[in-house]
């Protein structure tokens, strides 16, 4: 059974959102006012023309995967705003994030509009880990270039950090004895300079938090809180200690307590001094107000400020995408029509050849009759070879006398 059928049985219900009703309507139903001249469905991108000509039931993830493997991958544009909504409807948030994190296989790149929508959805549905992973994608691709996305990313990281649990994939397993070695033949052996231990999930998220927290602006205080958590997540104990010493005035008590819990859960090496420093900072901290309320207030304020621009940018990008997608569909249909015409011509030629073969006898009947009439039969004279001379023994042969009475 397709996964989409299971997912559609329990459609998600959204009750709270940072954005206005207009934003949510555009995100869920698509930009109706921009799609007047488009002949394709607005709420879903139809990829069956390219990857599913037989119209077999296929998941959206499988369609994206198949499209990426074909040469049409560079010709078909994908609009992330609509496809992200389709992914959420047909799959779960975990799979959606895995698709967005692997553009090499799926070809889907998140943009600011879809990033805001998805972060809002994940934050209000309790998916803290997925929201932090999405925020990491946005930070790594330099999409957090306005205060709205920065505040949403900060809240995502904070939601993840305050309820932090180590990832199972990051646990280092000791090498087992008598391990079985499987030899795989490849054409070239790759030289990977990166170390696998440096690409754990915690380190990826931590680096993004440090990078986001190093910026300036009106959210500097909140960024510094997130930066400390990032240093702790990546295991950079000396940097965390120095950061704590130089920015202790801006750090909140909740942040320090969260950092303590992260250090204890990760079991970092050489973290005793850091724990002592954190404990001292907790005792000295004068900021005991809730950081969650500060984050929410900053998000709401920035939503009021940046939502019109976000909608305008989305409209422009949708119009541009619609033109390109229409051109790609037309090109595909033209190529298919050319192939069909070629096949039809070949079929017609073969049928004509068969008919011509059948009609050959009737067209040449008179000639055949004339040839038959003109043909004369000459029976060759029978020849039994060279005449043989009688043998010497037969020279004096006298046949016996045969009387009439027998």
């Amino acid at each position: 059974m397709l996964r989409s059928r299971i997912s559609c049985a329990l459609p998600p219900r959204r009750l709270v959102s940072y954005f206005s009703a207009e934003f949510n309507k555009v995100a869920h139903e698509g930009p109706a006012k921009f799609a007047a001249g488009s002949s394709h469905a607005v709420t879903s991108v139809d990829l069956d023309v390219f990857v599913n000509p037989d119209n077999r039931p296929m998941d959206l993830v499988d369609r994206l995967l198949k499209l990426r493997k074909q040469k049409e991958a560079s010709l078909v544009p994908l609009i992330p705003s609509v496809l992200v909504k389709q992914l959420l409807d047909s799959t779960n948030p975990q799979e959606t994030i895995s698709v967005l994190r692997n553009p090499i296989q799926y070809g889907l790149f998140v943009d600011q509009f879809s990033g805001c929508f998805l972060l809002d959805f994940l934050l209000h549905n309790g998916h803290a880990v997925e929201s932090a992973q999405l925020a990491t994608i946005l930070v790594d691709r330099n999409l957090c270039n306005n205060e709205l996305l920065e505040s949403l990313a900060l809240q995502s990281f904070w939601s993840f950090a305050k309820e932090f649990k180590p990832f199972e994939s990051s646990q280092v397993q000791p090498p087992a004895k008598n391990v079985e070695v499987e030899k795989v033949r490849v054409k070239f052996i790759r030289n990977y300079p990166d170390d696998a231990s440096e690409n754990t999930e915690e380190k990826k998220l931590g680096r993004a938090m440090v990078r986001l927290g190093s910026g300036e602006g009106s959210l500097k205080e909140l960024k510094q809180n997130v930066a400390l958590l990032g240093y702790v997540l990546t295991g950079q104990v000396p940097e965390a200690s120095s950061f704590l010493a130089s920015n202790s005035a801006a750090l909140h008590k909740e942040t320090l307590l969260a950092a303590q819990s992260i250090v204890e859960s990760l079991k970092l090496e050489g973290s005793e001094e850091l724990l002592k420093s954190l404990q001292e900072a907790v005792e000295k901290s004068s900021k005991s107000n809730a950081i969650q309320s500060l984050l929410e207030n900053s998000v709401k304020a920035n939503v009021q400020k940046f939502e019109p621009k976000l909608l305008a940018d989305y409209g422009e990008s949708y119009q541009e995408w619609a033109k390109k997608f229409e051109a790609a569909v037309q090109r595909q249909l033209d190529s298919q029509s050319v192939e069909e015409r070629k096949a039809t011509i070949q079929k017609t030629l073969s049928e004509l050849e068969a008919k011509r073969q059948n009609l050959w006898f009737f067209e040449n009947r008179d000639d055949i009759d004339i040839q038959i009439y003109k043909k004369k039969v000459y029976y060759p004279k029978r020849w039994f070879g060279k005449k043989k001379k009688p043998k010497a023994a037969d020279t004096f042969y006298v046949p016996p006398t045969i009387t009439h009475n027998g």
């Binding site: 790149f109 391990v179 795989v184 033949r185 070239f188």
Partner: protein, 188 residues
Amino acid sequence: MAQKVIKYIGRTTDFRGNTLWELVSNLPNWGVGRLLIRNMFQRYPEPCYMRILKVQSVDEQPGEIRKVRVTVEKTWRGVTQPKPVEIYSTSYKADYELVPQDQEAKYLNNKKKVEPVILPTKIELPPLLRELVSEETGNPNPQMKVHYKLTDNKMARLAKDGEKPTVNFALGVGQPKPVSAKLYEGLL
């Protein structure tokens, strides 16, 4: 369950990086406008980089490293090719690296250029032929004209009028290099 360790058997290379498909498919808009380098070409003091102009994907072949057609503006040792170049046959090599946007100035501001090789228009004849031509014509030092076909991807050209060639072709055994001069002590 027994743990398995995969050991790859195959040809070893000096490549360091990713294949071209892994780079361009991981970038929005296929990385048009970004700079690429090949680590094998970074041995030169002059900059060697490529700017992506257009990407055209190719069907994936099972069991093979995926290739991709990328049209680039190629700069080889500081000299930019006048026409775009398409990379396809070498796109499977895992030697490509994407230049971060904040480090593009490092390559663009490097104005070093490889010096063009200027060839002489005439060189000496071989020794025996020189003797024969001298006896026949009476010219004590006859010269032979150099024929050189100039193409777009060559860095050498013939010297023009009044121009001094940078390469001198002299017939003879020559002198040993300083590093190996001691091997010829007492012989030359």
